[in-house]
């Protein structure tokens, strides 16, 4: 008799089945369709499209601006997370809630607002432009938009990690004669570095795909301030579906690599300080035994 191991809690088959069907229809089928479409082109042609002058320039702008934005957020995000966890100041709860604004504010709203702020007659543009530095309608505008959009990532990944640092460890360092700066460099920073890197990678990944907030402030000049997602759309609008697909496939591949990197980072963060407990205890726990 095939006595299949039964599970006490009900609904596993139903829940997993539904999940798989849903994911297949919504994700696997469309993505598979796209890869199938791209295969009509063949590898060589995809490479040709991706390496054309305009595409290359778009990739350069997209990845360059994303990298700068992620670096800006890595630096300021660390400071913001630090003051939010460690320093008391009036209105802290409000500021803490406000950090999530870029997640909640539709990107189009962010786009037109930032464009207005940094335009030559805008609140910020009118002070910046006389200094000979144009932000709106240049690649720097892209950096500003991406910095806004990805601002919460570093802060939100760092906050819980900074909260988890035991002050006793810092006290121990201080009692052993370390200065505050030495304690930060040798004790605190190594503890939060993986989270900082994760936040950075998440911000970068999000920035690369961003579209809505960028197009309003970028100026969208081919070869100069045109991002890849916009190039995909303009190819689509010119009925160059294959060209758009080729670029999309390349972007998707790069996104996967980034997602993989983020997962590896998170796994590393979670596991690097795990105690090596006896294997059988781990196995027993995994199996639900005492």
């Amino acid at each position: 008799m095939a006595a299949k191991t039964h599970r006490v809690l009900p609904g596993f088959g139903l829940a997993l089945g539904y999940t798989l069907v849903y994911l297949s229809l919504l994700i696997l089928l469309p993505l598979g369709g796209m890869i199938l479409k791209a295969s009509e082109l063949g590898f060589g042609q995809i490479v040709d499209i991706a390496l054309s002058e305009r595409s290359l320039a778009a990739f350069r702008v997209t990845f360059g601006a994303s990298l700068i934005a992620a670096l800006i957020n890595g630096f300021f995000g660390l400071i913001v997370a630090w003051i939010l966890v460690r320093y008391p100041f009036p209105g802290k709860r409000f500021v803490d809630a406000l950090v999530d604004l870029p997640f909640a504010l539709p990107t189009a709203v962010a786009g037109i607002t930032l464009a207005t702020l940094y335009a030559g007659n805008g609140w910020l543009g009118r002070y910046i432009e006389p200094l000979g530095f144009k932000v709106a309608y240049t690649p720097w505008g892209i950096v500003v938009a991406l910095t806004f959009i990805t601002l919460p990532f570093v802060v939100r990944t760092l906050q819980p990690v900074i909260e988890d640092i035991e002050t006793e460890v810092e006290e121990a360092a201080a009692s052993l004669g370390a200065s505050r700066w030495q304690t930060f460099v040798k004790v605190i920073f190594p503890a939060i570095f993986p989270a900082l890197l994760t936040g950075f990678a998440l911000a970068f990944a999000r920035a690369v795909g961003e579209y809505g907030s960028v197009i309003f402030i970028a100026g969208n000049l081919p070869l100069i301030s045109e991002i890849t997602p916009l190039l995909i759309i303009s190819k689509l609008e010119q009925y160059d579906v294959l060209g758009a697909t080729a670029l999309a496939v390349v972007m998707l591949g790069l996104s996967f690599i980034l997602l993989l990197a983020v997962n590896v980072l998170q796994w590393w963060t979670a596991n690097r300080h795990k105690n090596n407990e006896p294997l059988e205890v781990t196995a027993a726990r995994a199996g639900g035994a005492a």
Binding site: L16, G33, W82, A104, I112, I232
Partner: protein
């Protein structure tokens, strides 16, 4: 009087970090948020209200709300089902499944729109079949709903999976051992335990659904009064140099964002209070 504790930075460092951090937030978050409303009201309240009364703006609001409502039940059912399977059972390929759920976060919204054009568009895989049966998905509302689904479905699942994992299986097992049927267990034990997490996921996915731009833009076709959501309408008005109109519409979305932040903060606070309550170690019982 100087009282610097061993684990505190010198005062000048603290003030520098506070000014840099808060200054950064002021320029990048505070100023844009204020600017939306100032620009919308630049020519006074009557003009602002007039801009909102425009029929196209109102139909855009209607469509935005409609799409968000249409997407919600799908996301809830998917989120609960996926979290139930992943958090309460062990099976092969679980981490692959979690990665798959994370995927939309890594895909550019533009690419997300494109994949559905390739599937349902005129030259797409199912395009001819759809045309034959007179069904329109791309450049129509169904396509916008599908694209929004793609963008928003991970939110609830992502929220529920860690929550349900941390709650463990004990309570459900206790319910079953006391004779509860599957549905009784779900409605009486599981759902009350996850209600705040579920609400949190709903708030996040709803904000994204109402604000999504890239993916919806690709599949919408920008047909005024028909396939224009509020974010898309903002773009059209802005490109027509109708700043007041654009910012009036944007202010509605900004208000929505503020409501989201407040709701999110309240729910976070509730969840925190609940976990704190559960973790309180009470004084040993008096005998």
């Amino acid at each position: 009087m100087k009282s610097t504790r061993a684990t505190q930075e010198p005062r000048w460092v603290r003030y520098t970090l506070l000014s840099v951090g808060l200054g950064f937030l002021f320029f990048f978050l505070g100023l844009p948020l204020v600017a939306v409303f100032v620009e919308a009201l630049a020519q006074g309240l009557p003009v602002y209200l007039e801009a909102l009364k425009e029929p196209e703006t109102r139909s855009a609001i209607g469509l935005t709300v409609g799409i968000a409502l249409a997407v919600l039940p799908f996301n809830i059912v998917f989120g609960v089902a996926a979290a139930w399977a992943i958090a309460k059972f062990d099976f092969k390929g679980k981490s692959l499944l979690i990665t798959l759920i994370d995927l939309p976060f890594a895909v550019s919204p533009v690419v997300a729109g494109l994949i559905f054009i390739l599937l349902f568009g005129a030259q797409g895989t199912f395009g001819p079949w759809l045309a034959e049966h007179d069904l329109k998905i791309i450049f129509a509302v169904p396509g916008m709903i599908i694209a929004t689904l793609f963008i928003t479905f991970p939110f609830i699942a992502r929220e529920l999976i860690p929550l349900m994992q941390s709650q463990g299986k004990d309570e459900e097992e206790a319910a079953v051992s006391l004779g509860a049927s599957g549905w009784q267990m779900f409605w009486r034990v599981t759902l009350p335990n996850i209600k705040w997490g579920l609400l949190y996921g709903v708030i996040l996915s709803n904000a994204r659904a109402m604000g999504e731009f890239g993916a919806v833009s690709v599949v919408s076709g920008h047909i005024r009064g028909e396939t224009n959501t509020l974010p898309l309408h903002v773009e059209i008005l802005y490109n027509e140099y109708n700043a007041i109109g654009a910012f009036a519409a944007a202010s509605i979305l900004a208000l929505l964002a503020l409501v989201t932040l407040v709701a999110k903060t309240i729910v976070e606070w509730r969840m925190k209070k609940e976990t704190e309550m559960l973790n309180t170690v009470l004084a040993p019982e008096k005998t």
